[in-house]
């Protein structure tokens, strides 16, 4: 009997194509699993039950007729609930959006999934408007970490992280403005990619910050992640930030060795600018030694201090976010959660000159990053500085919120991926980031895949899986 819960996309695609499993049975099995376990994980805000089964039946008929569209055909997936899907509600996890929230068109990424024959099973929990959380004063509770439900998933793509780690779906999308794909990937033991700015269209996704927003694939394995990016990447003339660049096959370099590849280690981010938790730091250093053992040439790389990136990111993000929410903040502040009010309102008080100066610093940091990476294929650094904290510990959530090294890559627009590097003594996932040059995601996948094959972290399952 097939264990559908933890099939990878690659495995499922082979079975579906060979008609050894049915999209309808696969989808129903995952819907049953969600019904059984999601009362604890809170990963979904909305389940597209009947629509999902209809899509699965269509996929089954097409595959049976010999019309197999590719590796996502008949494969269930989930969307963070700020991404539109025609006929399904988009709530942004907020009371503000509860009414009149059903779009009649797909986001660009959703349309790409639809064209690939994928099966949308539902919309996942997020921090309110992708910024305010984890919060207990919203219409839905926050998602919980399948590795230990007393702990935080990371955010803001929290439900996508929980759903993947719990075996509810093999594929999900998140969004990432200051690290919101990579944070839940880090804390839930997943692979999360923030591709280059412009690589994936943002059309049909509720914005947080126009110049920093990215959409990204979240999966349990590196290969699956590359498969998803193949589906969603590509130029979209209707997104003004979309880049008209060639789209490679992101799976092409998987399986190639990394002998002689030049890997930088941005060590000062997690040893000097911030001090990572000792188990986190050790797991990253151990991963670097694994890569060295596979033949990579490793040396340290120095960028501007992490706080320069973090402050610049925030000074840009908050006014852009406030501009989006200004009218609702003026008219119905009580409909927002407390964390969203506090975080977004900061944007009202940033001076215009500071915003402009932040964009000028950004230009300098982009140039610095490109110059520093010229002699490297990819670089390694921390993602989160700490394993997941207790979700109900407000002080710990506040403290760890900024203890991360993800914002530099939203600012530079460079691709960055979180990859599992082991587990803490308390059984919580550890991680690193592999970052690269603009539009060179394929090399990140190559290195991540080599590391993944040399370890077994992505094959482990949370206790609830049993």
């Amino acid at each position: 009997m097939t264990d559908y819960a933890f099939l990878t996309i690659a495995e499922a695609a082979n079975l579906l194509k060979a008609r050894e499993i049915s999209p309808v049975e696969y989808t129903q099995a995952l819907l049953d699993r969600i019904a059984k376990h999601d009362g604890t994980m809170n990963s979904f805000l909305h389940i597209s039950g009947e629509h999902a089964l209809d899509a699965a039946k269509t996929a089954e008929a097409e595959i049976s007729a010999g019309d197999w569209r590719g590796p996502m055909h008949g494969v269930p997936y989930a969307l963070k609930d700020i991404i539109d899907a025609a006929g399904e509600p988009t709530t942004c996890h907020s009371k503000v959006m509860v009414r009149n929230s059903v779009p009649d068109t797909d986001a660009h990424v959703t349309a790409q999934f639809r064209a690939a024959g994928a099966v949308l099973v539902g919309k996942t929990a997020t921090h309110e408007f992708a910024i305010g959380g984890p919060s207990f004063d919203l219409p839905w509770p926050p998602a919980r970490n399948p590795w230990n439900p007393a702990h935080f998933t990371g955010g803001s793509s929290s439900g996508s992280g929980a759903a993947l780690a719990a075996g509810f779906v093999p594929a999900a999308l998140g969004t990432d403005t200051g690290g919101s794909v990579r944070n839940p990937a880090s804390l839930c033991g997943l692979v999360g990619m923030k591709a280059t700015y412009g690589r994936v269209s943002r059309r049909g996704v509720f914005p947080l910050s126009f110049t920093l927003d990215h959409i990204g694939p979240m999966t349990r394995t590196v290969e699956d992640n590359a498969i998803l990016l193949n589906v969603i990447a590509g130029h979209d003339a209707q997104d003004p930030g979309s880049a008209a660049v060639e789209k490679p096959d992101f799976t092409e370099r998987l399986g190639r060795d990394i002998k002689g590849m030049r890997i930088g280690v941005i060590r000062h981010f997690f040893e000097k600018d911030l001090e990572a938790d000792p188990e986190m730091a050790k797991s990253i250093n151990d991963a670097v030694e694994v890569l060295r053992g596979l033949g990579a040439e490793v040396s340290d790389i120095t960028l501007a201090p992490l706080d320069e990136y973090a402050a610049t990111n925030r000074v840009i993000l908050l006014p852009e976010a406030f501009a989006i929410h200004e009218k609702w903040f003026q008219e119905r502040p009580e409909d927002y959660g407390e964390l969203t009010r506090r975080r977004v309102m900061g944007g009202a008080f940033i001076r215009a000159a500071d915003y402009v100066n932040a964009t000028r610093v950004k230009a300098r940091l982009v140039q610095e990053y490109n110059d520093a990476m010229r002699d490297f294929d990819v670089a390694i650094t921390a993602s989160s500085m700490d394993p997941a904290c207790l979700i109900e510990d407000e002080e710990a959530n506040e403290r760890t919120y900024t203890r991360q090294a993800r914002t530099p890559f939203n600012l530079t627009g460079a691709p960055a991926m979180s990859v599992p590097t082991g587990f803490s003594s308390s059984g919580l996932p550890l991680s690193m980031q592999i970052v690269g040059k603009a539009f060179d995601e394929a090399k990140i996948y190559q290195v991540a895949h080599a590391y993944e094959r040399a370890t077994d972290w992505t094959q482990r399952r949370p206790p609830m899986a049993a």
Partner: protein, 64 residues
Amino acid sequence: MTVENDSKAQDAARSAGLEKMAAQFPDDVARAFEFAKTLAERLPRDIAPTDEPAHVYRAQESDK
């Protein structure tokens, strides 16, 4: 948060059209105001007059 800063925060909120927010959530206003102030102070100041802002990021293929 001092009384003076708290008053400045409320004034700034009202100037931004956030009268309702200031009345209903004065603590949130005060915390957001204080955070924005300290955040802006962390920005680097060594910017040359001719330094251009970042435009929408376009990577050069030659950077690969």
